[in-house]
């Protein structure tokens, strides 16, 4: 039983890391109604900028600020050169634009900062907390707890921002209908630039934590793969949904990876491990059958 709880808690903490990436997707979707395919690439770009500034001698805090400036400029440029011409276009057109953006970042970021694999030291060692290990024989790392705390703080901040600020309400209006939002005087261009900058900030936090854990390298773009089932489960428009979805996906994929392969091997023989790549997607798809809008997503009703 102790092992079950260790896997469960480990999964929940991993899930928070997925939520961090999923949050970026949610922000853009809430503001423009488009799925931002480039979010994984943004995580990579943000982390690469952070480590790039650190290599040039900036301390972590300054490098973080400078990387945030880079991501803000990137957000403004995205609005100006990619999104501005696409106001009121169908979501699929915007989605295609983000695919192009993703490939651009994949090529541009290494050109700017080099494509070496780098270590990122944020002063947190990914080691088990000794007293938990000694008293409970469970491995819980300081790093994971810090990441979870940071993610929860971000979620709380963003939820308040969307719910209680004028800009937050304007963002939601823009997501519902670009043209209607424009007609009542919401400055669409500013809103989009702002939300891309905020998504850049979230990407920077995610990139810092993932980069610190696994090294800053191209593979950071793959973190998006971990966020997709979280979005399906939590809903594309819900900030708390991203965190709850992340927790469910994280815990279930770890439990599945541990407990399902031995059962399958018992039935059919052979090795059935390595299922955590696809298991969360199957789970999310099954969930869609019951609740198509996701756990916290907004139910979409059209007048016919």
């Amino acid at each position: 039983m102790q092992f079950f709880f260790e896997v469960l808690i480990g999964g929940l903490l991993s899930g928070v890391m997925y939520s961090l990436v999923a949050l970026g997707f949610v922000l853009i979707f809430k503001a423009s109604g488009v799925f931002n395919f480039a979010q994984g690439a943004m995580v990579f770009f943000a982390a690469l900028s952070l480590v790039g500034f650190m290599e040039h001698g900036a301390p972590l805090w300054l490098a973080f600020i400078l990387a945030f400036v880079v991501m803000t400029l990137f957000g403004i440029a995205t609005e100006k050169f990619v999104l501005r011409k696409m106001v009121n276009q169908p979501p699929i057109a915007l989605f295609m634009a983000t695919i192009g953006l993703s490939f651009f970042i994949d090529g541009f970021a290494p050109l700017l900062w080099g494509n070496e694999v780098r270590a990122l030291d944020i002063g947190l060692v990914d080691e088990p907390i000794p007293w938990i290990l000694d008293n409970w024989n469970m491995v819980i790392s300081k790093f994971d707890l810090f990441a979870a705390g940071l993610a929860l703080a971000l979620v709380a901040l963003l939820a308040l921002f969307f719910q209680y600020t004028r800009i937050g309400r304007a963002l939601r209006a823009v997501a519902d209908d670009h043209q209607a939002a424009l007609s009542i005087g919401i400055p669409l261009q500013h809103i989009w630039a702002l939300v891309w900058a905020v998504a850049g900030f979230v990407a920077l936090v995610a990139g810092m934590l993932w980069g610190s854990r696994n090294g800053v390298q191209f593979a950071l773009t793959f973190t998006a793969l971990k966020a997709l089932p979280v979005l399906i489960l939590g809903g594309f428009t819900s900030v708390p949904g991203a965190i709850v979805g992340g927790l469910i996906i994280g815990a279930s994929e770890k439990l599945a990876e541990i407990y399902i392969p031995p059962v399958m091997a018992g039935w059919f023989g052979g090795n059935f491990g390595g299922i955590e790549g696809w298991f969360p997607y199957v789970m999310a798809l099954l969930f869609l059958l019951v609740r198509p809008e996701g756990l916290f997503g907004e139910k979409h009703i059209d007048r016919v």
Partner: protein
């Protein structure tokens, strides 16, 4: 409209003709042409830069020393981004240039090599795969044009077991070994060898796959913690390697009981893991550092003349740079072997190069002559053995550099090579290939 189109077409053709006339010819008569489907950008660009940088630096070094009995090396790179489809496209684009006097083709990718095995055989062009690619091509009777030189995944796994056995007083009986692998064809390659070794050496083998890309391994390492193995052998790739090392630290598993394949044993695999990687071991078929006279001489000669291929010269002497040099040494030696039979000072055609690769004999004395003692093992190929060595060293990361732990260790050829032969026979049957009679080959 049509008139305008015609004008544009004529102008473009004239410009293209002028431009191509202005370019130097790709290769002259006495040049050996290496097609290089390389990768310098994309997810694994950093690895490709060092490998191909080392490869090209050695070709330049040979040219600067007068070439291969006067024959100069020429080459052309084509960016694959480690993508199989692009690799095949590069091959198709460059094969006409390589047709007359080809150098062995190096893709540094198992996927691209797999895709090219049949094509190169049909086009009669030699394909070299050092430490990667189709391992059953060791049997040259079925694969005359493919050369998995030096060592293969299976022989490497066998050598790792031999190393662990030696560490444990000559016996692994009753020990538990976890095999943590990338859940792909590459990751699964050594399973047969590890199972065969397990039956022979009476250890328990626990197989734990990691789904691509392997950037999250919490569940796998929790299971490893539960299994309490004596050792973890890791067949990782890319981000999976540093994630495994860092997660091992998190789970409290000692890194000096982890040993990776050569794809998990470069600086790129350990530096991002920081202090967590101290003590971690891996297999390798070439050593790191500038202590080898050849590497130091390349730096002095090629970079001294401003002709080096690497922009970042701090990479000189890294594992992958030295691997590129080692791969180029093998190719140049094959060409010299062919020249010794077919005519010194002449560029070799494809069949002659193939013969050279099949009759390589790089002895310790020859390595010493090249200034490459210890850089790579001795290699002696034949029709029935396109691997030619099967030897690797074990190395350990001390936090700043790889240090060799052993001399060259040869895997259990008697146990492993029959596995290749069985696989090659199956392949021959499937493809309708009649194997050559190696006893008649000279």
């Amino acid at each position: 409209m049509i008139k305008k189109f015609k004008q544009i077409a004529i102008a473009t053709s004239v410009a293209a003709a002028c431009f191509s006339a202005a370019l130097p010819s790709a290769y002259a008569a006495e040049e050996q042409f290496f097609m290089l489907p390389s990768y310098r950008v994309g997810p694994y660009g950093a690895n490709g830069q060092s490998f191909y940088g080392g490869f090209i630096d050695y070709l330049t070094y040979v040219n600067m020393k007068g070439g291969m009995n006067g024959v100069q090396n020429a080459w052309e790179e084509c960016e694959t981004e480690y993508n199989t489809a692009k690799g095949v496209e590069c091959y198709e684009r460059l094969k006409s240039k390589a047709k007359a006097f080809p150098g062995p083709i190096h893709t540094m990718s198992t996927g691209i090599s797999y895709a090219l095995v049949d094509k190169t055989a049909a086009d009669k062009l030699p394909l070299a795969m050092q430490g990667y690619g189709l391992t059953s091509a060791v049997d040259g009777s079925v694969f005359p044009w493919a050369f998995p030189l030096v060592t293969t995944y299976q022989m490497q796994a066998s050598a790792i077991i031999k190393f662990l056995k030696d560490k444990n007083g000559g016996s692994l009986a009753g020990k538990k070994i976890v095999f943590l692998y990338h859940d792909s064809a590459y990751g699964k390659e050594p399973i047969l060898a590890l199972e065969a070794e397990g039956r022979l050496n009476k250890y328990e083998l626990v197989q734990i796959p990691v789904a691509h890309p392997g950037n999250e391994q919490g569940a796998q390492w929790q299971r490893i913690r539960q299994e309490k193995p004596d050792y973890v052998i890791m067949w990782g790739w890319g981000v999976m390697n540093m994630t495994a090392i860092k997660t091992a630290q998190k789970m409290g598993f000692p890194r000096d009981r982890m040993i990776g394949s050569w794809w998990a044993g470069s600086e790129e695999d350990v530096i991002p893991a920081g202090d967590a990687a101290k003590g971690y071991m891996s297999a390798t078929w070439n050593v790191a550092g500038k202590g080898v006279p050849l590497i130091a001489d390349i730096e002095k000669t090629v970079y001294g003349a401003g002709k080096g291929n690497m922009k970042d010269t701090s990479k000189l002497g890294t594992i992958l740079y030295n691997r590129g040099v080692s791969a180029a040494v093998l190719s140049v030696e094959a060409l010299l072997t062919a020249q010794a039979k077919y005519g010194k000072g002449k560029a070799m055609n494809a069949e002659q190069v193939r013969w050279g690769l099949e009759n390589l004999n790089i002895t310790e004395a020859r390595l010493k002559e090249l200034g490459a003692t210890g850089l790579l093992p001795d290699v002696k190929t034949s029709c029935s053995n396109h691997e030619g060595s099967g030897k690797v060293k074990m190395q350990q990361w001390d936090g700043s550099k790889w240090t060799p732990l052993t001399d060259w260790i040869e895997g259990n050829k008697t146990l492993i090579h029959p596995l290749f032969q069985a696989d090659a026979a199956k392949y021959a049957k499937e493809k309708g290939i009649t194997p050559r009679d190696c006893s008649k080959e000279k």
